[in-house]
């Protein structure tokens, strides 16, 4: 039987000051898979991420119908603290995540674990593992504020990973980073995905997302307008353009040439490698 660590069923949500930010959203995420969330700013991506560990609606208030089940816990029936041990959220700006009081990387990663009351030996072990996983080994003694943007975001991921969440949620983790920072963070996410971590990631960098997302949902004005396998969703070029999302360039290119190439939508390339193969043949 398949395991679904994340089940979202017909969720509709209004903030106290904004109506229907999410409308009838339903999806499931299989254990060990990566779900990408795409859509323009204001479509509800962040709200959906925050609903996965109960911050929405428990902290923000407002009205929510439907249900969210994460790691077999209904978010209405468990506290944010309980949910947070199973669902780790990484925010867009790493500076929002860091404690602001830790003077070293090690302390920063240990901080959350200490708050949760883990014994010292366990904390030390997990800190070491988490720092290694995100590729920051050797920088343990540095101040979090001496790091580059990409390193800070990887540190933020480490602080979340140290808690060993069943589900890792990343809300536009590369939006504020330069190309090196984006590369570093994507490499870290890909490694975690390859290691079987269940991941939900909201992203505007569609061409990167195409290389590692198993499933993708597209949000627009609070509605889920597309859902399915990554390849299927990203090949829906016209629908994506309608909601203001640019598909990968190579996918859009192939869509423009679909008549000349006599190619059907389910054969569109969504990654550079697939496109190199296709156009290498076409131009032979």
């Amino acid at each position: 039987m398949e395991e679904y660590p994340v089940i979202v069923e017909d969720v509709t949500y209004s903030y106290p000051t904004r109506e229907n930010v999410l409308k009838h959203i339903s999806f499931k995420v299989k254990k060990g898979e990566v779900l990408g969330i795409i859509g323009p700013n204001g479509a509800g991506k962040t709200t959906l991420c925050l609903s996965l560990n109960g911050i929405v609606p428990q902290f923000f208030g407002g009205r929510m119908s439907g249900k969210v089940i994460v790691a077999e816990m209904n978010t209405f029936e468990h506290t944010i603290a309980e949910l947070s041990t199973k669902v780790g959220i990484v925010f867009q700006d790493p500076l929002d995540q860091l404690s602001g009081i830790a003077t070293t990387l090690e302390e920063e990663v240990a901080f959350g674990l200490a708050m949760l009351g883990f014994p010292k030996e366990e904390i030390d072990k997990r800190v070491e593992e988490a720092i290694e996983t995100v590729g920051l080994k050797g920088l343990e003694g540095r101040s979090p504020y001496e790091l580059s943007g990409g390193q800070q975001q990887r540190l933020a991921i480490a602080t979340v990973l140290a808690v060993k969440p069943e589900i890792l949620v990343l809300d536009e983790p590369t939006a504020q980073l330069d190309p090196i920072g984006k590369f570093e963070v994507f490499e870290t996410i890909k490694e975690l995905a390859a290691g079987g971590q269940t991941i939900i990631v909201a992203e505007h960098e569609i061409e990167e997302l195409a290389t590692f997302a198993d499933e993708i949902i597209a949000l627009y004005d609070g509605e889920m307008v597309l859902k399915g396998e990554g390849k299927k969703v990203l090949s829906s070029v016209e629908r994506l353009k309608e909601i203001g999302v640019d598909p990968p360039s190579v996918t859009e290119l192939t869509h423009l040439l679909r008549n000349e190439l006599e190619i059907s939508q389910d054969e569109y390339p969504i990654t550079l490698d697939e496109a190199i193969k296709l156009y290498g043949e076409v131009l032979k």
């Binding site: 323009p40 203001g244 190579v250 550079l272 190199i276």
Partner: protein
Amino acid sequence: MAEPIIKVEDVWFQYSPEVVALKEINLEIHSGEILALIGQNGGGKTTLAKHFNGLLKPTKGRVLVAGMDTKETPTHKIVAKVGYVFQNPAHQIFMSTVYEEVAYGPRNLELSEEEVDRRVKEALKVVGLEGTEEMHPYDLDYGKRKLLTVASVLSMNPEVFVLDEPTTGQDHVGRRVLSDLCIKLNKEGKTVVVITHDMRFVARTAKRVVLMAEGRILKDGPVEEVLYDYETLRKAFIRPPQVVELNLKVGKFPEKFLTVDEAAEMIRGILKSR
């Protein structure tokens, strides 16, 4: 050739004795150009751009704006020539209505109220924010707030626009709106300098690209030359737009292209001629 609007002559800049942010920079920007300044954070892009309007003065060397040395000219004269749109709208916006925000600059130029009003209306029209005059800037969404910061520079009517990472935090529609706006300003005769990490934006917007790394200019040339210099870009850890990479890796296209539309047109031509 006409005198450049911005001339950077052997400029070095140090934030402190240990931190040398710019090394031996020589650069000429001519009136009417539209160029992108690319490179990693910490490479010197923003530091250099802040020399263009006198926000920073060189430690060594000199910067001439419309022939005026930024070290010897009062800043208000430089600022009237070169407008700077900051990366974070929150660092720029401080009035309580959209109208007042855009009127602030021209009022400081001591223009008549009619002229101020005319400029505010014109600037809001260019960026597509007419009708929001009485709104609070923070009631605009992030993308529109960015456009507001452009309008408040536009109302000063500078010759040169410097936009510092306008694409950061923007979704795809927001990036396209900003690209269109840069192209429009340039068509109206403005010189436009954009700092960005988004190579698809660069390919669509800029005609010239300056690549910086470790405080130096690594490459300066036409957009198709720089974005096709895979080796140099790789040294700076930058990937060209996906269609450029496709062109380079397939290696069978007769010419360079920069955008999806250009690529489609070329491939269509090849297929037809067979």
